[in-house]
């Protein structure tokens, strides 16, 4: 069944990414000579605003959502450099992750619980996937919106 097109019916639409709870669908729209990530609620397809992933960070590619859609990871641009950007929709913040020198990121996948990130890199004409830990950078995003508390007792 085609997904609701959110008014982009005449545009190429690629790179779908569903959140684990099924409430969110991210995809990439080709429009105005660039590629831009959009986020829609499910079902219905209403567009949801993204605070940081605007036109200044395009072209976008390879979006990936965590379990409850708290985190949206995407390939983005800063100047002429490609990088990985992760928008934390709960905190309204953006994490920007540069990659080792000389390698170009082509695809990414965020683990459902946001603990790891897999990145497809191109380096010297060769494609290879590398895995990274995000445990020191992101809080987990687990089913049911359960968040781990830090040390000590909760108030």
């Amino acid at each position: 069944m085609p997904a609701p097109n959110a008014g982009f019916g005449g545009s190429n639409r690629a790179d779908p990414a569903l959140s684990g709870d099924g409430r969110w669908l991210a995809s990439v729209i080709e429009q105005g000579g660039t590629s831009r990530v959009i986020l829609q609620s499910q079902p219905g397809g209403a567009l949801q605003p993204l605070r940081h992933l605007g036109p200044r960070t395009t072209p976008h590619g390879s979006p990936s959502l965590s379990w409850n859609g708290r985190y949206l990871a995407v390939l983005a641009s800063a100047g002429e450099r490609r990088l990985i950007a992760i928008e934390d929709r709960q905190r309204g913040s953006l994490l920007r992750l540069p990659l080792p020198g000389g390698s170009q990121p082509e695809r990414l996948s965020l683990a459902p619980d946001a603990s790891r990130l897999a990145v497809q890199l191109q380096q010297q004409g060769r494609r290879r996937v590398q895995l990274f830990s995000l445990r020191a950078l992101l809080e987990p995003d687990r089913p049911g919106g359960i968040r781990e508390l830090g040390g000590g007792l909760a108030p």
């Binding site: 069944m1 085609p2 997904a3 097109n5 005449g10 190429n12 639409r13 690629a14 790179d15 779908p16 990414a17 569903l18 959140s19 684990g20 709870d21 099924g22 669908l25 995809s27 940081h52 200044r56 379990w67 983005a76 800063a78 100047g79 450099r81 990985i84 950007a85 913040s93 953006l94 994490l95 920007r96 992750l97 540069p98 082509e106 695809r107 990414l108 996948s109 965020l110 683990a111 459902p112 619980d113 603990s115 790891r116 990130l117 897999a118 990145v119 497809q120 060769r126 494609r127 290879r128 996937v129 590398q130 895995l131 990274f132 830990s133 995000l134 445990r135 020191a136 950078l137 089913p143």
Partner: protein
Amino acid sequence: MLLLAALAMGCQPMALQPLPAINGRLEQAGSSREPALGDRWLAVIVGQGGRERVELLDLERGLPVPLPGLNRADAQPVSVSVAAAGDRLALVRQLEGRTELVLYRRSVASLQLLRIQPEGVPRRVQLRADGRQLAVEVSRQGLWQIDLFQLP
């Protein structure tokens, strides 16, 4: 320059922490592409000796698990995705001149062809983390669209 670019995006750059054991395993596998993460699983298309196959790595043990009946010598994998629990994989592959979308259930090693209606050519697929829905890029009449499939 990099710092200026970071400030333009309204954030500070952070460092990624590589996981050397699994990255070493991927290096040994040859080329690798189209990564898809579950909670403790990494599905990936690996290439060696001019042929590509789907591999599912158990990230806690650092080893691939068997996928009987999924890889075929005459099939070319295009895109793969895995559910969080690692029990289901969705695959787009080229086989006998056509491009098809299949669902693989690991516990019973079964492969199910998913028919795309209206007809179109699939490319990238993503399986929802709970394995109950998938989203796939489909080309129809020169336009890329996204289809959603509910899965039993």
